[in-house]
Symmetry: C2
Subunit: 242 residues, 2 copies
């Protein structure tokens, strides 16, 4: 892992671009920290550059609570090499959404390869990030893709709590994996998400094995998560990462 | 309205018993308040004496945020005269729950008379409470019975926000009323509530006409609402009553 850029944001947060092999990433650390900061991995749908404004807003929220935050680019997204197969599945999903709910086959073909590829990359990023001075455990995962969050919560023992954004279609096989999740969860659902299926999101929530799980459902579409959920996320992580 | 008792709780909160005609009630006001305190009406399933420990805990939460809180006894509950019809409906509900979901007829027979009788009483209490020095608007409703909260939010313009506990069966006719609710809502649902129907609770949530509505669903049964929902309630009311 090597740093590729560095800047101070106006509220003292240090923002550093990095490369983990050929995977780009961004790390935000709070301006003043006496002890190593807990780390929140910021999940997103791919495209660090496009997602930057929303990611930095979430990183600022996290820093206000004393948390470091980091994101890496997803496979076949942003500046990383494309995949013909995944691009094809994404186009198929778009076409299917115009006429109704996409088939399980399309969802599997789009999501499962990303999960398979992304989860080991997030774990490698975790190895590198936790080795830095000023970053400690415990670690939270926050955001989408929900299937990546599910797999990470199952296979990565360093994840202590997860705030999952139910804003993407979930392959059927992930429902079984959801039963194996035991860390505290907060699940965000946009009630009228145009790119998601409400019933299936409620089914995933029901499936999770965690004893502490809370669903926060709000009105509006995919991008309409209300600002106060940023505060609620901080309180959730403050309960579990401190 | 006349006060029947008065005591200071250890954190400076003033607790006063009152009688509104023959309806008993309790009012809690914060120890130190510079301006008139917003008021939260604490909804409950009936039985002020039995509910007291939970009500006073919620009143303490509210007072910590500068809110006054009040509860009145429900019709045909606690020390108030009983109703043979409502007692009969309650017994029918208990029997029906032992074998499955109660019929709409039983739910109507139990809930609708209570709503019809209780809502004018809550409004009369509001008249009396808002006339007291130290109590101002705006007003919130917090708790169950959800059907009482729905009717109050529809007919009482002084209710500015409501936190509704989806912990009781809802008559079908209340779904239409729910569409008329427009104040900001936070709806609490216990995912495995033994005295409620999850699907129907989600349907009510869907029906509300409010532009801002948030569902908080947590694991566990009817009485298992986690402590952190007290904090979340305060933040909801702080957004809307201040």
């Amino acid at each position: 892992m090597r740093f590729t850029s560095e800047q101070r944001l106006d509220d003292g947060i240090l923002e550093r671009g990095f490369a983990l092999g050929d995977i780009p990433g961004i790390l935000w650390t709070p301006g003043s920290a006496s002890a190593p900061a807990p780390l929140i991995l910021l999940g997103h749908p791919g495209g660090l550059h496009t997602m930057y404004p929303r990611l930095v807003a979430r990183a600022r929220d996290a820093a206000a609570e004393g948390f470091a935050a980091a994101a890496i680019e997803l496979p076949w997204s942003g500046e990383r090499p494309r995949s013909v197969a995944v691009d094809g599945a994404r186009a198929d999903l778009r076409r299917a959404l115009q006429v109704g709910r996409p088939s399980d086959e399309i969802v599997d073909r789009l999501v499962l390869p990303v999960v398979e590829q992304a989860v080991p990359e997030w774990r490698a990023a975790l190895d590198a990030l936790l080795a830095l001075p000023g970053i400690g455990g415990p670690v939270g995962y926050s955001g989408g893709v929900i299937s990546i969050g599910i797999r990470l919560a199952v296979v990565e023992p360093r994840i202590s709590a997860a705030l999952l954004f139910a804003g993407s279609f979930v392959p059927r096989s992930m429902f079984e994996e959801a039963r194996k999740v035991t860390v505290p969860l907060q699940v965000l659902l946009q009630w009228d998400d145009e790119g998601n299926d409400r019933r299936s999101a409620l089914e995933v929530f029901d499936a999770f094995g965690s004893r502490e799980k809370t669903l926060h459902a709000n009105m509006g579409g995919h991008a309409g998560v209300p600002w106060f959920e940023g505060e609620a996320a901080n309180r959730f992580f403050a309960r579990h990462l401190k």
